[in-house]
Every structure is written in structure tokens, then in C-alpha cells.
Amino acid sequence: MKNESKKSVAAVLTAGPLAAEVLFDPLNIEEEGLFSRDIDGQLVRLVDSTASDYATDIHLKIDGRAVTVKKAVPTRDSQGNIVNDAEGHTVPRSTTIYDAASEVFVEKPGDVNPIPILCHREHMQPAAVCRVCVVEVFRTVDGKRRGAGSLVPACHHQVEEGMEVQTIESANDPESGTRVRAAVKVLTELLVADHLSESALATAADSEFVPNELTALAKRLDIKESRFARTKKVPIVDRSSLRILVDHSACILCERCMRGCSEIRENYVIGRAGKGYDSRIAFDLDTPMGESSCVSCGECMISCPTDALTFKGDRQSQQKFEPGESATTAEELLRLPMFAGIPFKFLQWNATSIVRQRLKKGEVLCEEGEYGRDAFLLVSGEFDVGTNSIAGRESKQASGWLWKWFGKQSNKFVASTSKPGGKSPHMYSGRQSIRLTSDAVIIGEMTCMSHYPRSATVTAATDAEVLRINRNVLYMLQRNEVAREILENVYRQRALDNQLDSISMLQSLSSDQRSECVAMLRECVEFARVDPGQVIFRQGEKANDFYMVRLGFVKVTQARGTQERVLNYLGPGSHFGEIGLVSSLTTELQSYSDGMDGRRTASCTALDDVELVRIRGEHFRELWKRFPNIQPAFLAHAKTLLERDREEQAKATTSLPEFLDQGLFNAQKLLVLDLEACTRCDECTKACSDTHDGVTRLIREGLRFDKWLVAGSCRSCLDPYCLVGCPVDAIHREGSLEIRIEDHCIGCGLCAQNCPYGNINMHGFVVDMINSDMADSEAGGGKRAVVQQKATTCDLCRDIVKSNQDPSCVYACPHNAAFRMSGEELLSRVQQG
């Protein structure tokens, strides 16, 4: 094929004086795109896709293969998660030609999309600047097949009904395929001439693994050397950043770093500077990276397809391992199907976050009840997963007071999980212990994502091997389509098993029925992610779906007149939405519903990042019909809830909602000062400062409840928002309650931003005294201090006191005015007066 296409390019090119125009004729280029107008000749206005586009089929052909895709796909964020708008709806975006080609040609890891890309990534807004994804499109109007003359970028051009696409791999239209391939080859040669060294090209030829995407493309197109003269530009290398090396000569101006910086991380540092051939990426006002407002989040480097932005330094060499643990390399990981397609530089950047662990038979991988940060990718061996102790479940239920306080029926309905000895909602359940092989792919992912304690103990049943990965790596895996699919299947299976266990109304099913029910639901449940503050449904709306909470908290509120009252807070393992559905299926609830059958009786709003399992109404109704023995339980449950609502209405409102609005339901270790005893002597602050190298981690200011002051200090939240998103995974909770910020913090400030209570502070620390000439900076000679911003927060003085002892602030108080307590305790003290 390759030789043939070469021959035919040459053949066409030498056919006449301006023969290249047969291939590339500028005068044949239509001013408008082929699909600019609809069949009536009306110019098509590009509008945002709508949800109805999800259901619209588009039929097209790619390289002769007939393809049907939806007109729109849901927008995903950089983690591969589907993005929701404020109303909780997904955000449709137009399906592109590239998307369609992925859908057809990429079925399993390792499959190659025939359309090459450099400047594009699925989770980014297409820029269409590198043009290597160009394809030729044809449209048949009135039986006449027409081409546009010019090629279109597949990453940007949306699919259209009746479109015919020819890629560089096209075999069914050799003339078009040759044209596209010749074009992509020339474009790649141009990039090679300017941005790739001869040696890089030569080494790539023999190596199996080529991280530089430009090199890989040159290799794919069999380009040994560019036919164009190499650039005479003087290479500019910016070494000013401590973490990232910027080599402008390798930069192909794909804008991926810019989009990573502004669209994904919202740091707004990188732009294009200059014009034309002298364009380059620049930080702020074209200042060196190290002197710019860059926070070294690393996203630009991970996004960079070439060697323009590379990782500087070597975190891995300082890494310490426990027995049985060893380091992994980016190269070996990329050979695993799960990691195929993950950016090489991401694996470098996160090298310390992926550790190989070998276990002997009988060794424990993780214990129920402990806090953890890792998930485990199962490489080989078998594992026993069991819920053996009650302790784990107890600690996990630390927020149980909430539903105890609200719901008189909580033990029965809201959280069947609070029953000692009940089934864990979290991981594996139902059986005391189950055996898993490495086919199970991953375990421990819920703790890794949600920061809740482990819900089961995992023991190696044979000699075994796992890869311990942290949250950043897990997120990156989800960014990769193939890995995402593998993971979603696993989640789907487990989430269902776990969630169904937590629905007491299903307990009446026989075990056969239960399996039948699971099998039916597995095919149809959906996973939804809801952002904080987002309304899941509103009171009075027609009831459509039934929900189960996987992660996060949902607030249930009811409006009566002008008042909005909080009815309940639902945590992981709970479910909601059944009343509206049940009332549409039976007349038995009519006495409660005031003619509102089939409507929502309350509004449900996400309190934080909530992940839901959704059962669509039609499937719920099918369940209802197919398993009539669940009906009484559902009815009884609905009645109880409705009765409770009635009782509540009779009562006066409480100040609780305000209390909850401050997030105190989430707090496990508030620093509370009794203002009647407190003399403002500030001994607590001094003690804190003395314990932490002169930098205090508490501020004696904050919310007041009666005589109680909630001081500014880490609350050890049940669901710590601060742990989300750290680019270098330096903030964790591991083993015990306190939040720890490790020394490799890069000072990006994200955790401080994420903490809603302002309890994480940024401080400059001298991390090193260096000789300037040896340093990365180009500054003059002599020693100078390297100051690095780092985040600090209360660690409950864990380095000096045991977990059952008071931290310095409490211990130092001469007036017995300082306490550490949970939100629940504080509330009860306030209520006691």
C-alpha cells in the first residue's frame, strides 16, 4: 500500500506542467464547506448541540465502511467524566469525524484510529491547528458525488448525514486516500524539519515505544528524514522552572498546553506570543516559566505531545519502599492494556504514585476500617475479600448521627448499613468473604476516590502481585477511553451489588430473584455525577427515575408555603425518588399525595460531589411488575416517609439548616473554644506554632454558636474536599484521621482553594540553599535560598501525640476552654445550652 501510494503520487505529479494541481488545485477549492448548506440551500447556523441530538442518528461512511453514530455525544471533562450543567443535565457536543472513526475502528486497547492527531485530545475543545487529522469528505447531492477540493480537520468537523470520509488509510478510493496521505506526510515532514532532531527520528525507528507523538507519527508514516531543510532557528530553552523544562524548539504550537492550563486547570498562564513563524508559547507577559504565575501543576507537560515541556528532576530516586514493594517504569506500564494511551509524561510525573507490590500467600493488602489513598490494580494471583470486623463499619458510620437526628426510621430505611453486622455498602458485601482473581481488575477504588475508610480486608489467597495507584493515576486512567470502559464495567457490577444490598425493600427477594434483578439492572442502570449545589429533581416535578447514592451527600428539602425545610441528608448507600414512582403505580398513597400522584414530594440537591446510580422510571416499573413481592415493602416505606413528613410539618422549624450549611455535618475534629472560659491568652496558637516550626496552623477566629467558637483549624472532614485534585498527590489521609500534606507539595494552592473553611494556608519555606551556578536558574553566582510555597494544615499533632491524646492546642490551654469534637457533639452541646 505504501509503495503503491508513493508511486501514484509521483505518477500524478509528473503528468503535466502544473500537474500537482490535479492533486491539489487551489482554484477548485469551494469558498464554502461542502456541508455549509442544508439540502434546501439554507446556510446552516452552528448552534450548541441539544439533548435531542443524542437520539439523532447520523449515517456516514468512513473509508467505505458504513457507520451510524449519534449526532452528539456528552461532553466529558479531563477525567473522562461526563460533565453536567447546573440543572444536572449532560452537555451535548457535536460528534466529530474523529469521534466517529474512534467509535468504529477502536474497539479494544491497541486498536488504532486511522486518523492521526497531534493537537487534539478528546477532552479538549478542538483547535484544528496541526492539520494532521485532515480527511477528504464527499457529499452526494442529486446523485452527484462532490468533493470540496480542500481537506477538512476530522477533530473539528462534525459528522453530517450522508457524509463520505476518506482517511489516510482509505483503500476504497485510492485517489482520495493518496491525496490525504500525501498531505499528512508533507505536514509531518514540515514539523519534523523544524521540531525533531535527526537522532530522535533514527532512535525511534528501532524502539518499540515512542513517547513523542510527533516521532510516533513520523514513524507511522515511514518518514526517515524530512525533504525540507532543517530550521535555522536558534533553540531557546527555558530552565527557570524547578519542575518543568521548556524547549521551544520542540514545540509544535499545538495549543494543548494552553488548553490544559486554561480550560482544564483554569490557571490561565500560557498563551501564544508573537506571530507567524516566530510564534511561540509564552507564560504571562512572556516571562520565564519559573518567574511566571505558573503553579507547576504539570498539566501542560502532561498535555504536551512532544518534548517541548518535559519533567525535570527525578522524584523516584528518593522514593522509599516497604518490603515487597518496587518501582515501576513508564515504559513497562505502557505495555499493560490499562495504561495504553496514557501520556508517557504523566507516568513520569507520577512515577512515585504507581508502586508494584508483591504479596505472599496470606499477606494482607488492606484492612477494613483504615484510611487509605491507594487503589489496587490486580496483576496476578487471587485475593480474599472479607468484612471481618465491626470496627471498620463503625468508623465509616461516623456520620450516622445525622440520619439518627433527622429520621426516626433511619435504622430501618435510610441506612440499612448502620445496623451492626449489616452489609457493607462500600465494597464487597453479602458474603463474609469472597475470592477474587486478577480478572476483577481493581479493588479499593472507592476509598481511593471517596477518602472513606476501607470497607473490607483484602488478603492474598495465593502469591500475588498488584500495582498500588493513587487517585491521580486512577483519574488519568478514566481519561483514557479504553481504560474507562474497563473500569466502568467493574464499577457497574460492584455498584449494583453493593447498592442493591442497601435497599431494604429488596430483601424480600429470593436469591434467584435477586440475581435475576441484578442481571436485569446491570444492563440498564446509569451512572450520574452531580456537582455541588446542583438540583437532582424538584418538588412537584413528574417523577421519572429512582436513585441510589454511591458517593457524597444529598439534601432532601420540602417547600411548604414560603418555607423550605430540610427533611433529610442522604449519604452513600441510601436511595431516594421512590415515592413519586410508587405513587404513580398504585392508588394506595392517594391519602397522602393531595392529588400529586406521580410527582416529586420533595426536592433533592447535591451537597457536594455526588455520584448516583440511576434507575430509569421504565425499568423501575418493570421491576415492580416482575417482582411483585417487593411491592408491600416499597409501599410501607413510602408511607412511613410520608407520615414523617406530616409529623415534621406540625413541628417548629429548627436552626439546624444553618448549622448544616456551614458544613458542620461533615466535621469530625472541630477545634471548639468555650468563650466563657477562654481568656484570649492565645496559648493555643503559640503551642501550635511551636509544634510546627514557627508557623501556626490555627486561627483563633471563626463561626460562633452560642458560647462556642469554631476556630480556624482543620476539621478532619468525613469527606475532605481538600484531597481532590492535588496535581502531585501530596495531600492524603492515610491510616488515621488527620490530613497530611507531604513535603513534595509544589505550592499550587489548589487544596487551600478547595477547603471551603479556609483551613489550609500557603507558606513560603526555604527548601534549599544552592549555588546559583549549579542551579537551574540563570541568576548570578553565590548561594541563594530556594523558597518554595507549600500548603500547611493541622495534622492533629500526630507526630508528637498518639491518636487518643489531645493535640497541642487543646493540651496547652490553661483554662480548659479548648476542645476537639465532631459536628454532632457540638450540636448536642449547643442544644443543651
Binding site: V9, L13, T14, G16, P17, L18, A20, E21, L23, F24, D25, P26, L27, I29, E31, E32, G33, F35, S36, Q42, L43, V44, R45, L46, A128, V129, R131, V134, S150, L151, P153, H157, A182, A183, V186, L187, L190, L191, A193, R227, F228, A229, T231, I252, L253, Y268, V269, G271, R272, A273, G274, K275, G276, Y277, S279, A282, D284, L285, D286, S293
Partner: protein, 583 residues
Amino acid sequence: MIVQELFRLQREAGYLRKQSLLDISAATGVPLYRWHEVASFFPHFRLAPPAATEVHVCHDMACRLRGACDLEKAAKQVAAKAGDNKVAVHGVSCLGRCDRAPAAMIDEHLHVGSTAKEFAKLIEAYAEGSPPKHDYDADQSRQNADGWSIDPYDKSNSSDSTLAPYDSIRRFAEQKVLSAKDVISALETAGLLGMGGAGGRAYKKWDDVLRAEGDQKYVVCNADESEPGTFKDRELLLRTPWIVLEGMILGGLVTGADRGYVYIRHEYHEQIEAVQAAIDAARRIGACGSSLFGTSFRFELEVFVSPGGYICGEQTALIEAMQDHRGEPRNRPPQLQTNGLWNQPTLLSNVETFAWVPAIMARENGKWFAAAGRPGMQGRRFFSISGDVAKPGAYEVPNGITLGELIDDYAGGMRDGLKFKAVAPSGPSGGFLPAKLPTTALRRDFSSTLKTKADFFDLRDWTLDIATSRAMGLMLGAGIVVYAEGTDMVDQAWACSRFYRNESCGKCVPCRIGSQKLTEILGNILERNFDPKQLDSTKQLVDELGGVMAITSICGLGQVASAPIRTLLEYFQDDIVRHLKSS
């Protein structure tokens, strides 16, 4: 906001001080990189203090023919003598005064037609703080405007003298005797084409914008005339700005737009003033503003001064610049008619396209215009003609005249009786065509219709009509540069190739790197660092690269950037060999 603020900051300090950018970023919350990416893109903005005297010399096409290189050299000598940061000399591309070549600007004041010696004196005078009298576009007599029929209100040139400007606006808004349908059908009858180069049918564009859904629509006049060899809009804006505005306002009434912008290149000082004055006058009589002639129709008009760069003449790049972005073209579709300024339907046309509308509406609803061309051709149009002709200028001609007629009957024939060697039929965009063009270069379906079978087609017989030219396989623009015997085409081609390299915005790979590689290849030939034996292989590579640029570039610039070198290698190999042999 960004572009306007940068203009203001530069006016205040002479350049964009780092501290002012830091301050304004902090005050507005617009990130630093956004200020820098805009400031560093547009040639008008300076990030370093300017020299005491700033000299800009046009060094392309007609100016290059008329000694621009000597001017540049002389200016640099003055600069070297003056010492550090006293005089800075910049070679630039096309100041739009190709008819008075060589053109230059000293401290943003126009100086045309100087010899190197005179030019050096001028700079010295500026440097000594006693600037001499400078030139104005208005200095030129109305000789070029004689015979214009485009202004239906011009008492001296036409017979419609009973009408007053903005007649069509009165008829539409006030008397309500003209409907959107009437206007569009008059444009269709007239057969008016877009005069910016693409030659699309004007009525269709108006109809597209009319039919496009949008809460707000806009009319934008592309007066960013920057293509070397093209200066007709300069004359129209200066001499008859009211007809341009009338065309825009009527466009607004027809399509439902109520805001219009005239986007003018910043080197057109007099034109900016003329348009501004015309807007003020129109507002005074009620032809624009919040109530058109006392009716509920409204149309606001504004001048938007371009921060510079040829690329902004590309319609989507122009819109990007108006939206405070770098002037980088958009991927199309969608088209501007549906997704234009601020993503709203936008009627964007060239100055001349709007300017013809009043005459079309005033004279038999388009029938006069339709009949104004040569037999079989519709309408009249403007050409800018420069180079080796006796009377370079902007001429209004009936559509369908031949190149020979344009040169002889309008431009006074070849300069000094020299022999016609070659022509650049669309600024640099169509490359260079020899006076005797091989018939093989023409489309076969066209050449087969020629009555006499000959090996060469005499370019003087070329009918200067867009549709005819397209059928022949030739590109025809509005700026025609004529070259006489003795011109070194290698030198011209290299300068034109450099022009595209310099003006490429750098957004897409084929244009950004391709234009550089082409210029380097031509540079090797220019520097005589080239073996004639490589001609065939070079031509093959250049054709392939140029072809790929044509079909993969985002906008027209990249699509045509290879024309100078490709036509040089195609038609002027003798020039190349001669150039390589000369010393």
C-alpha cells in the same frame, strides 16, 4: 476591550509598558497572557520603547520596482549615523500607495515617490525635530475619480443629480416603498459580486444573513485593504464614504442588523477621518443612529481601527480581532453569515461591494448595473493598477474589459514605452503570469474553445471577469501589478513569498512552516546558492508543498502563499538561470 485598551496605553506611553500591562490585568481580572498574546500579535503594538524617529518603508511589488530597496538602504545609513535608538527602520509590506511608489511612512506620516537621496534628507529632518511637509492621499487630483459612476449623488459625473445621499435608506425606512425582498432581488438582477476577492454573489450573502436566526445581527465593512497592489478602497473611502455607509445601513435594514462597523487599517489616517466625518454627517441628517429619518428603524455605525496585519483582511481573522483575540482565522464552516461577530449572523463585505449598492438601488433597481458591463458581462468594478504603467491608479471600468485595455486605455500604457513582460493579477496571490502564457496552463475545457490554436495565449486579451478567469483557471483580484521587460522576477517572487511568511498568523502548520520553507528555497535562489540542476526536483517539491498548503490551510493566505514561487518555477525558469549567472 483589550484592543482598545492597548491602543490607549500605547498612546499614553508610546509603547506598552510592562507595568501598565500588569496593572490593567490586575484591575480587569483578564489574565496576563491574554494581554500579551494580543499585544505581541498585532504589528501596531510595541512592547519596547520606539526610537525617536520610526521609519516604515514598503518593500514589495510596485514599491520594490521603484527603488524601495534603495530607500531602505539609505534610511539604514541615516539610522546608523544617528546612533542608538534615534532612528529605527522597518521594511513593511504595502502601505496601500502603490500608485505613488515608493511609499514610506516616517513617524506615521506619509511620504511617497521620493528618491533615496530625498528620503534620507526627510528622515534627517524628522530626526532633527523639524518634520517637513508630508504627503496626503487627498493631494492627488480627482483625475482617477473622473469617469466614476459609482456615486449616484455625484453631480459632476452622473445624471442622477436630483437624488440626495441615503436615498435608499429613506425609501426603505421612511417612505416604506422598498422592502428587503426588493433590495435582494435588485442585487440579484444587478449581478453584484463580492469585491473582496472571492467573488461570491452579494444577493445570496444578504439573503443568508436575513434568513439566519440570531438575537442580534451585525454589518461589518472590511476596509482592511492590505494586499500589495490593492488600493481602490483607499480611494472609495476617501472620496465617497457616504455610499459605503449607505450600503452598510441598507444591509442592516434588509438583514435585521442594527449595528455596523467599518474595520479600517490603521495606516489609512485620512480615510478614517473621512469615514468618521461621513458617519457624523449621516447621524445629523438621521441616516444613521437610534432613529432612521424619524422612524423606529435604527442603525449604529462605528469605525474600528485595525491594530494591523494583512491577515486581518481575512474575514474571520478580522472578526477575531474585533473580539479581542489574535487575528487568527477560524475554521469554517460555520460561515460568518450565521456565526459571525460574537457568534451572531454577520454581513461582512468589502468596501466596494457596499459602495455599489446605492447606485444599484438608485438606477432601475439593478438593471442599469446589470447592463453596465461589456456585452455578456454584468456590472462595473474597480481595479488598482500599478507597477510599470504610465498612470497607475484606481480605475472604475466596465466589467469585461481586457488586460490590454486596462493597461492602455486607463493606465496610460506601459511606462516609458517599455515592453510588457508579466503581470501579477491578484497582488501576490495569483503569482506572476508571463505576457505570453502557455495555453497548456489554461483549463483544457477553456483552451479548446479558443478560436486560434496557438501555443501561447496573449495575456493582453485576457477578459478581466471573475467567472471567465475562473473558467480559464486563472486567479483574478482587484490589484494588478504590471511588470516590464528587465524586471528580475526572482527578486519579486522572493519578496512576495517573504510577504506571506511575514503575514502568516502562525496558527496552522501548513502555512506557518510551509511559507517559511518556500521563502527559504527562494532565498537560496536569490542568494545564488542554488544549482540549476535542482530546478526540476525543487519544482516538484514546491508544487507538492504548495498543493498541500492549498488544501490543508485554514484560510486563503496559506492556500495561495505558494503562488509566487510556483509560478516563478513554472514560467520564469529563464529568469532564474539568468539571475543565478548574474553577480
